[in-house]
Symmetry: C2
Subunit: 207 residues, 2 copies
């Protein structure tokens, strides 16, 4: 973001290196399973040196949690805003799902770390992450609300529950997703299809 970072071709040092290493370790081993010594080693420095950049372990975690949510939020919004004006409602829904999953599964450790460790961090750290989370939730709620207002989503569907179902199902893909067996885009389309149309056979050709 700043001018001084534009020419930095080796980001695995200093502040950024610590954050990258920490995010990767956190999503592998959980909050309690990662020591500052482990983070330091992964970043190629010694544990004591971390305190030049961060005041505490929780300061690192706080920054990682925020970056994780911002990443999905940005990517989901970008995917939706890139659509032409005459896009059908179900394609808007599909785009949001694709943006969320892409950020989660292929973009980086920050988003994954957030999903994995949010429930384990100390209350103060969790609270610090809440504003960013709520902002993303509001974005999704507004999007779903628009879709229901235009009649694309059935009246009977509770939007608050739908958002929770959606985020829950999408985030859970993290536990088993394997990029070797089809990319995040194909998965997103498949999931979106299930959410939109359901699984029930409506053609009446039962055996």
């Amino acid at each position: 973001m700043s001018v001084t970072k534009t020419n930095a071709e080796k980001p695995e040092v200093g502040r950024a290196g610590i954050l990258n290493a920490a995010a990767s370790l956190f999503c592998q081993h959980g909050y309690g399973g990662v020591s500052l010594r482990a983070i330091a080693e992964a970043a190629g420095i010694k544990a004591g040196s971390i305190y030049y950049h961060f005041a505490s372990k929780d300061a690192i975690v706080t920054e990682i949690l925020d970056a994780g949510i911002l990443s999905v939020h940005d990517e989901a919004r970008a995917a939706v805003e890139a659509l032409p004006n005459d896009t059908t409602p179900d394609a808007i829904f599909r785009a949001a799902v694709r943006g969320h999953l892409h950020a989660l599964l292929e973009h980086g450790d920050y988003t994954s770390a957030n999903v994995r460790i949010f429930g384990q961090v100390p209350p103060a750290v969790r609270d610090a992450n809440l504003p960013v989370r709520k902002a993303y939730e509001k974005y999704l709620d507004d999007l779903l609300s628009d879709l229901q207002a235009t009649g694309a989503i059935r009246e009977g569907v509770s939007l608050s529950r739908l958002r929770l179902l959606l985020i829950g199902a999408l985030n859970a893909t993290l536990e088993w997703f394997d990029p070797e067996q089809g990319g995040a885009e194909a998965l997103a389309d498949d999931y979106a299809d299930t959410f939109l149309n359901g699984i029930l056979n409506k053609t009446g050709d039962n055996t």
Copy 2:
């Protein structure tokens, strides 16, 4: 429930007390966030005494993880098997969802602990839990496979992905479910409805 437990009005002692206390703490604070001292205190004993009942912290965790899966498996199967013979396919699906959610949300800490800490435990502990997990996955796969074979579930639906979507969405309810705002049964019906029918408005009465 069992004969030997009928006269036990104070279950929070000994082995069972340790397991109950540990399960409750694990689902609140995660694997790394719970010490043997904390477990001992919650169970009303001292840390050293735990080693009379268990060889290690991981031995406790292993037992809790297995019990958690067995609980959902049993409850889902019981809900399905309690149905009359002429039950419609969608009602079978609904019953399985209800059983899973009920065990997860209202039954106990073991199931919740499993969902929350499975990703954080040492590899050896995780591996020990795999057979029980696979058995439940097979049960669900067979159930869904039957439903698709009878024509109730559309041909195009990938059952392995559907199972993952389903379990992911259901388990995620743990993060926000509040029994004060409607029970697990109502939630289960709502979720099952979304899975079965989708969210799209099919009536064509768009504005």
